[in-house]
């Protein structure tokens, strides 16, 4: 990962590392870098979005915000799972593709009222900046 400016407010106390579930199974998420700005053996894509680090951080650092900004900067390094899921959202407005017919059948079998899926291009349209600010 390319370097990110280390936030000055970080006390390097390491608390974020001790509460991180990814660290507990031997992976290294962004918190590794927070506790040690020279660390290189981590990936910004490993975080599970549990927000425990941020909730525990005595420096009040927006760890999650930093991590997300970092991901966007390095989107070409995104793991396949992330890329495929994002493509699905853009193509179907849903994280997993399902047809209206399949959904109708499944819900009917469970005795649930039908639910209409969104127009397929809805996410793409919402994620396009409005002309006024382009």
């Amino acid at each position: 990962m390319t370097a990110l400016a280390h936030p000055q407010e970080c006390l390097q106390c390491g608390l974020c590392v001790t509460v991180c579930p990814v660290e507990m199974v031997g992976g290294h998420a962004i918190v590794t870098f927070m506790a040690d700005p020279t660390a290189t053996d981590f990936s910004v894509w490993l975080c599970t979005s549990c927000w425990r680090c941020q909730e525990s951080c005595p420096g009040g650092i927006d760890i999650y915000g930093l991590m997300m900004a970092w991901r966007r900067q390095e989107s070409d390094t995104a793991p396949e799972g992330y890329r495929v899921a994002f493509e699905h959202i853009l193509a179907h407005g849903q994280a997993m593709a399902v047809s209206q017919e399949e959904l109708d059948q499944m819900r009917a079998a469970w005795g649930l009222e039908p639910v209409r899926l969104p127009p397929p291009d809805v996410a793409r349209r919402l994620l396009t900046p409005s002309p006024a600010v382009r």
């Binding site: 979005s49 799972g81 994280a95 639910v115």
Partner: protein, 277 residues
């Protein structure tokens, strides 16, 4: 009878109809009907936010649909959806964000004011604790291990509803109403690791294994999030491939509550005779 909007999110909508069924059954005993948001878009969590800072306009669209339905509360049953909707509602308090959202929504004939409060089922039920207690007719003798829907509780400054964001008690309180016991286990308040699956399936299964090993004493896992169900129940067969004895049953929170409320198993999406003897 009161009616609230309901946003199942795509994971629950497409893969976990039993969770929706049980949620509806339990809420209807409290006099609450759920009206599903039609044509809702995926909240994007945590994927869209990883690629674009504009991710909030997905949830802004959903909030606009809910406003058009005339509701000011939307019930959610997945951690990720709750988090996205609530953080978006907060972001819409910035007038610049609000007007950009409305510019983007205009093409759909929608507007958003930002007046909707997203409430995870745990929060909604916690607000009706006494009401629920009064309706328990079938006390359960069962011990469950709670897995917390982390994203429905954190960040506390946005999601907060009076629970401790690091050692939450609300689900435990709801479980105890039913007579069931809550197992204390190491790592109870840690994320299950489901989202990690998108980036590294091996590590994710390892996190799931850690959870499963820690809850062996319990009769069942108790879930309040689609992501937890996905990893800990649906993918359980991959987690325990080399040690099938780790197998653990799972219940969604409203399924457990529904049993104690005396609701028929079928109405909770449960097979007959498995949980009640």
């Amino acid at each position: 009878m009161s009616t609230l909007a309901f946003y199942p999110g795509c994971l629950v909508l497409q893969r976990m109809p039993e969770y929706e069924l049980a949620t509806r059954a339990v809420l209807s005993t409290l006099g609450i009907e759920l009206e599903t948001v039609q044509e809702a878009v995926c909240c994007g969590s945590p994927v869209a936010e990883s690629f674009t800072a504009d991710w909030i306009y997905l949830s802004a669209y959903n909030l606009a649909l809910i406003e058009r339905m005339g509701h000011d509360t939307v019930v959610t049953i997945c951690g990720g959806c709750t988090n996205s909707l609530a953080r978006t509602a907060r972001a819409l308090q910035d007038p610049a964000v609000l007007s950009e959202a409305n510019r983007r929504l205009a093409q759909f004939g929608l507007t958003v004011a930002g007046r909707v409060t997203p409430k995870h089922l745990v929060r909604l039920l916690t607000e009706r604790l006494d009401d629920l207690r009064a309706r328990i007719v079938r006390p359960l003798s069962l011990q469950v291990a709670v897995t917390t829907p982390c994203q429905a509780l954190r960040p506390d400054d946005v999601m907060g509803f009076g629970d401790d964001p690091l050692e939450p008690q609300s689900i435990r309180r709801l479980v105890r109403l039913t007579g069931a016991e809550v197992l204390d286990y190491p790592g109870e308040n840690e994320c299950c690791g489901a989202t990690l699956y998108l980036a590294d399936s091996t590590l994710s299964l390892k996190a799931g294994r850690r959870k499963l090993e820690a809850v062996q004493e319990a009769d069942a896992l108790l879930l309040g999030c689609g992501n937890c169900q996905l990893l800990l129940r649906r993918f359980q067969r991959f987690i325990i491939r080399d040690r099938p004895s780790l197998r653990k049953r799972a219940l969604f929170l409203p399924q457990l509550l529904g049993l104690a409320l005396g609701l028929p198993e079928e109405s909770l999406g449960l097979r007959k005779g498995v949980w009640l003897r």
